[in-house]
């Protein structure tokens, strides 16, 4: 009885993990990495350096850079086809 239950649990956990992987990373890992880097940089600026003004500018700027890099990547991929 316990084996099927465990199997069901493993399947459910795998499905849950796969949903979040697909949702957050999917075919744009660069956006996922860029978002993590953005959060880390802004947290460092704000929490360690107390640089509020720099954090206010850096946050949207890094998001824009991430979007531009991802678009350029898609353009390059399209050129390669």
């Amino acid at each position: 009885m316990t084996i099927p239950r465990r199997g069901l649990l493993v399947r459910a956990l795998r499905g849950f993990a796969a949903f979040w992987w697909d949702f957050l990373v999917g075919d744009t890992p660069e956006i996922f990495v860029a978002a993590l880097v953005t959060v880390a940089v802004v947290a460092l600026l704000r929490v360690m350096g107390h640089e509020n003004a720099a954090a206010v500018v850096a946050l949207p700027l890094l998001a824009i850079v991430a979007l531009t890099i991802s678009i350029r990547r898609a353009q390059r991929a399209s050129r390669g086809r």
């Binding site: 704000r46 954090a55 206010v56 946050l59 050129r79």
Partner: protein, 255 residues
């Protein structure tokens, strides 16, 4: 005289939740219409209804749990998730507007589902295939809307409002869908997705900042400034992609 104050964050929550839910429901409606037309309405509507109830249960279960998480870490995590989610939506919308990616074609999706349903053989009175197809269509499309409702609603402390707006969007799409029937291509889906992307990235930026104790210069009003900034950037990136597509003579290569 009653003075009503609506903060910028509420406007953005309402706009983002409504647009995100509406876009996802248009996609779900295409599937339900295709299943209903080919295999009968009873099972299609039952599948769609059960999926909507399941999505509601998900919100009812997770919403109060998320509301208990302290606000600062919640906003940091939600801000990060919204930033990723919003940038993904915006990227797709920009590539579609620029002509580098196929636009979402509801007619093609409709034909695809009709072909699959027709090849599944004759439909009995209680049609399991139709039920499962409609359920899957609505549930899977609705999951992204649920994420938007939960993240935006709990972080803004407006979960009830977010749920109401989402329910409103479902009703609007259902009524409009019944009226226009199969002419779902007339819905400006890409423009709506672009709007959702801009709102999600704006909120993601704002809350990520709040999560690491950034003091925004104009408080909540900064959100409107972020929306304006991302609109300008989006337009510039669309123009950049269009220039490249026009220059190379390439059109819409792949999804």
């Amino acid at each position: 005289m009653v003075a009503v104050t609506v903060s910028s964050s509420v406007v953005v929550v309402v706009g983002a939740v409504f647009l995100a839910t509406a876009v996802e429901m248009v996609e779900a409606l295409t599937i339900v219409l295709a299943v209903g037309h080919t295999r009968g309405w009873r099972s299609a509507l039952e599948g769609a209804s059960v999926a909507l109830v399941s999505l509601g249960v998900l919100v009812a279960m997770l919403g109060p749990a998320l509301a208990r998480v302290p606000l600062t870490p919640l906003r940091l995590v939600v801000g990060g998730v919204l930033l990723i989610f919003g940038l993904q939506w915006l990227r797709k919308a920009i590539l579609r507007s620029g002509g580098l990616k196929e636009r979402h074609d509801e007619d093609a999706k409709y034909r695809e589902v009709v072909a699959a349903m027709t090849s599944a053989g004759a439909s009995p009175r209680r049609d399991r295939i139709a039920f499962v197809m409609a359920f899957k269509g609505v549930f899977l499309e609705g999951l992204e809307a649920v994420v938007a409702v939960l993240t935006l609603g709990t972080s803004a402390h407006r979960l009830a409002l977010a749920v109401l707006v989402a329910v409103g969007a479902v009703l609007v799409v259902a009524v409009a869908g019944a009226a226009v029937a199969r002419q779902l291509t007339s819905v400006p889906e890409n423009l709506m997705k672009m709007g959702v992307g801009i709102l999600l990235v704006s909120y993601g930026t704002f809350w990520t900042g709040e999560g690491v104790h950034v003091r925004w210069p104009a408080g909540d009003v900064t959100l409107m400034g972020l929306v304006a900034l991302y609109v300008v950037v989006t337009m510039a990136l669309v123009a950049m992609v269009r220039r490249e597509v026009a220059g190379s003579g390439r059109g819409v290569p792949a999804r």
